[in-house]
């Protein structure tokens, strides 16, 4: 394999979308606690699970923020709290300058067109009883964007864009592989032409040889459509590839944030260092060298 790749993405700062500098999403001191209640007759709160414990970050239009965290770090809860799928305990979430934290479901409804999510499990996130044409078309129908023939046309276009063919329109999820289902999930997320897509572990459940396809697809779509991503994953290697900036999450807090390359090459926080050190290096000689210097368990 080549030793030196082409120009690294970090130096390509000049893409029209990214240069905007306009803040699309601003999260400030976001907190989500889950109370643990005990008591004989009446519930008294005895403890709290601090899933998200004061998280702040910004995402500029056109860029990709990578959020790295292991299980228990709170990253999934953070996603739900940002999208108002669960009510934050406190803190602020501003989308396009507008405060959305604590908004009622009704008030959030029109905003949902702009904020979409891609889920981790391609096997669980698609309703097995619906055909995929319907799954992808539902957002359009429910938000009153299109119906009938126009709806079908838009759905076909979406499927095509994610690399599926029109004949897939009438099939059911179980007829597709994991990678294809993830494409369907992406098509669904794109349906309403959102500004921001939150991808929660979009490739973790996929085979290795398919992961690259989906990562590249997301990349292409970002360039074509000017999308902004928050890419959440536990695999810092994948995140580094897609992200402009990386935020590392640990026990409900962000412990480090910065440009992707900087965070990976010159980590400042101890946890980030541990995380990076734990990523296996797919190079036997390097792996042996590293074992010798570090020593084994």
């Amino acid at each position: 394999m080549t030793a030196d790749g082409p120009i690294s993405k970090g130096s390509l700062d000049v893409s029209a979308h990214r240069r905007d500098g306009e803040v699309l999403l601003e999260v400030h001191d976001l907190v989500k606690h889950f109370p643990v209640k005990r008591g004989l007759l009446f519930d008294r709160e005895v403890d709290r699970i601090r899933a998200v414990d004061g998280v702040s970050f910004t995402v500029n239009r056109g860029e990709t923020l990578g959020l790295v965290g292991e299980s228990g770090s709170g990253k999934s809860t953070l996603c739900r709290a940002v999208l108002q799928l669960t009510r934050p305990t406190s803190g602020s979430v501003r989308f396009e300058g507008r405060e959305i934290a604590g908004l009622s479901r009704r008030a959030m409804r029109p905003l949902r067109r702009q904020l979409q999510m891609i889920f981790q499990d391609p096997y669980a996130s698609l309703n097995p009883r619906k055909r995929i044409g319907q799954i992808v078309g539902d957002p359009l129908r429910l938000q009153g964007v299109a119906s009938g023939g126009e709806l079908r046309r838009q759905v076909r276009e979406l499927l095509d864009r994610v690399g599926l063919s029109p004949e897939h329109h009438d099939r059911f999820p179980h007829e597709f592989s994991g990678g294809q289902r993830q494409r369907i999930g992406i098509a669904r997320a794109l349906a309403l032409r959102p500004k921001l897509i939150l991808a929660d572990e979009p490739v973790s459940a996929l085979d290795v040889s398919i992961r690259a396809q989906i990562v590249n697809l997301l990349d292409d779509l970002q360039d074509e459509l000017g999308l902004t991503y928050v890419f959440v994953a536990h695999d810092i290697g994948v995140v580094r590839h897609v992200a402009d900036r990386i935020a590392v999450m640990h026990e409900g807090r962000i412990v480090e944030e910065g440009p992707a390359d900087r965070v990976c090459e010159q980590p400042r926080d101890a946890y980030t260092k541990t995380l990076l050190a734990a990523v296996p290096i797919p190079d036997p000689r390097e792996a042996r060298a590293r074992r010798q210097t570090v020593g084994s368990d």
């Binding site: 292991e70 085979d207 994948v238 036997p284 368990d297």
Partner: protein
């Protein structure tokens, strides 16, 4: 040259399903020497797990069609009767599975389940003795506070500790061979590193021969001596660790290596990918099964390549690709 502990020749495992015969494994052969770590690499549908489970007779069922030959220290494994295979399970060859949460019975304590493994093979061991041994084992795999943990239920432990407990249970009777089926796939990366170090230590200190089954080449690079790459039920390439990583001979291996993200390198503009999807085992294309996804395919590929040594200087290297070795070196870049 150590002699083989475990030998497999031409193993074929098929399952009769409504859609026809699903050939999960189609002619795999390998040897495992004492103290060696053999990695079997492949994605879902490659047949790697079925191969591993067949070693312990776990795939036997009314709709399974198992052919070929496999033996452990002279004892035939595929046709062995139930009593014989039960003796080998746990005692000589032990297995660790992917998901420690579901692989433990949720209603019994960890210590009890480890004790059960011990007493199944050693009738004379009392419950107390078994419990003590369980504590020792939990300690040996690096679980802090083993005295307390031995009475925990599986759901009370973290993912990493559960997997360590699984490994402890596998080691209970001091087996010679450990088969680890995707032992770290369900774990976080920091925990994964710990488990791999543990497996490496066990291999080093106890001479525990290991078959490591994984889809992650990064994991392989850290632990394996030899590697088998499987695709759609067949071995497409085999060799030593360095040979596979530095001189891969099959386009699928190139694809796998290429799609890895490497932290120590500049990131490529675009992640190299393998086109298409793995084939359905019920409907394999004729000839080379990787052909539909291979950017280097040509006419000869309509004929299934045999798994053969194609490099005269390395007789242990075998692959299933018709391309000329010199050609391969060029195309690989």
């Amino acid at each position: 040259m150590s002699e083989a502990l475990l030998s497999v020749r031409d193993l074929r495992v098929g399952f009769v399903t409504e859609g026809g015969l699903l050939q999960a494994v189609d002619g795999i052969s390998f040897d495992l020497a004492a103290g060696e770590v053999l990695a079997i690499v492949g994605e879902s549908g490659s047949g790697k797990s079925v191969t591993a489970q067949t070693m312990l007779g776990l795939t036997r069922s009314t709709n399974a069609r198992i052919e070929g030959w496999a033996s452990y220290r002279g004892t035939e494994l595929l046709e062995a009767d139930d009593a014989a295979i039960r003796d080998i399970r746990g005692e000589r060859i032990a297995m660790v599975f992917q998901d420690p949460m579901t692989s433990f019975n949720p209603v019994y304590r960890i210590g009890a389940q480890i004790g059960e493994a011990i007493r199944a093979h050693r009738r004379d061991v009392s419950k107390d003795e078994a419990r003590e041994r369980a504590v020792e084992l939990l300690d040996a795999v690096g679980i802090p506070g083993a005295e307390r943990r031995v009475d925990s239920y599986p759901h009370e432990l973290s993912g990493g500790m559960r997997q360590r407990a699984m490994i402890a249970m596998a080691l209970a009777l001091d087996p010679e061979v450990l088969i680890a089926d995707e032992p770290t796939t369900a774990l976080d990366v920091t925990v994964q590193a710990q488990i791999l170090r543990l497996l490496e230590r066990l291999n080093r200190e106890r001479g525990l021969a290991t078959i490591l089954i994984t889809h992650d080449l990064g994991v392989v690079a850290e632990t394996a001596d030899r590697v088998l790459v499987m695709y759609a039920g067949r071995v497409v390439e085999q060799g030593t660790l360095d040979e596979i990583f530095y001189d891969p001979q099959h386009p699928y291996t190139w694809g796998l290596l290429g799609s890895l993200t490497r932290l120590d390198r500049e990131r490529p503009e675009r992640l190299p990918q393998i086109e298409g999807t793995p084939p359905s085992l019920l409907d394999l294309p004729p000839g080379c099964s990787f052909r539909p996804r291979c950017p280097h395919e040509f006419e000869k590929c309509s004929e299934l390549p045999g798994l053969e040594a194609r490099l005269p200087e390395a007789p242990g290297r075998r692959d299933r690709c018709w391309l000329d070795p010199a050609d391969k070196r060029e195309r690989r870049q």
